[in-house]
Symmetry: C2
Amino acid sequence: MSEPRWLTEEEQQLWLEFREFLWGYPRAMDRQLTRDATMSSGEYAVLAAVSQAAPEALRSGDLATTLEWERSRVSHLLRRMEAKGLIERCASSGDGRGQDITLTSAGWDTVRSAAPGHVTFVRETLLDPLSAAEQDQLGQMLSKIRCAAVERNLW
Amino acid sequence: MSEPRWLTEEEQQLWLEFREFLWGYPRAMDRQLTRDATMSSGEYAVLAAVSQAAPEALRSGDLATTLEWERSRVSHLLRRMEAKGLIERCASSGDGRGQDITLTSAGWDTVRSAAPGHVTFVRETLLDPLSAAEQDQLGQMLSKIRCAAVERNLW
DNA sequence: GCGAGAAGATTGATGTGTCAACTAAGTCGA
DNA sequence: TCGACTTAGTTGACACATCAATCTTCTCGC
C-alpha cells in the first residue's frame, strides 16, 4: 500500500469521536439494560424479535437473518438463554433441521418488564436529542457509510 | 415504569438501522484490520496511541484515559500484546506503581505497515461518502447523543 | 431410491470486554 | 513515623463474538 492521504486535524477529530461513539453507545445501552432488567442487549434483541414474531414460532435461522447476526452467535446465545429459562427450542415441524424458538412465560414477563425502560432509553438518547430533520439526515448518512463498506466487502 | 411513548414506524426504522450500524461498522473495521494486518482494532488503537506518544513512554493509565477505556481492559490487552512481542512494559521511573509502555521494533513495524490501509479504510468508508457539511453535522449529532447518555449516567 | 452436495444448526478454541476483588505503592495528617 | 486513605495496575470469573470444524437433515439428479 503506497502513501495514503493522511487525515487532517478535523478529520482526525471526527474519526476519534466516531470511534469512541461506536464503543460508548452500545456500552451505554448495555448498562441501561443490565441495570434495569438484568439483561444484555443481545438478549433483549432476541426476546424482542421472538415476541414480535409470535404467535408464529421463529426459526433460529430466521432470527439470525432478522438480526443480521452470524448463526453461531445466535446458537450460543440461545443456549445460554434456554439455560436461564427465557426461551425454548424444539425441532421445527416442517423441516427436521430447523429449530423453532418460543418464549417461555418467564421470557414473556422479562421482555414485557424490560420494554418500557428500553424504549425510553432509545427515545431519550437517540430520538429526543435530534430534530426530525436530523433524524432523517442521520439515517441517510448511516446508509451511505454502510454502502461504502459493503462495496469493499467488509460489511 | 409507566407506559412510555412507543416508537412510530419511522422511529423504529431509524432505531433498527442505527443498532445494526453500531454493530456492523466496528465489525467491518475489525475485518479490514484482521485481513490486511492480522490485528484487532483494539491492538491498532493501542499501537497508534503509543506510537503517537513516542518518544515519551506512555503510562498504562494515560493510555486508558486517552482511549477512554477501562483500566482492566487495557491491562488484559497489554498482557496479550506483550506476549506477542508488540510492546514492552516496565516500571515507571518516577512512580513505582506506574507502568511505562513502549513499542518493540516489531511493534513499530506492525503499526507502520498497518497504518496506510487503515487510514484508507477510514477515508473510504467514513469521510469520502459524506460531504464536508455532512461530516460536520454528524459530529454534532454524535455529540448531542453522547451528552444525552452522559446525563443519564450511562456513558 | 441413493449418493453428492447444500442448508440448518451446534460445538470448541480463542480473543476480547466487564465487574469485582486484590496487591502494591504513594500521600498525608496527627 | 505510623496508620488510613487513595491511586495504579493486575487478576480471575464470567459473558460474549468469531472462526473453523462437525453433525444432521434435505434436495435433487440419476
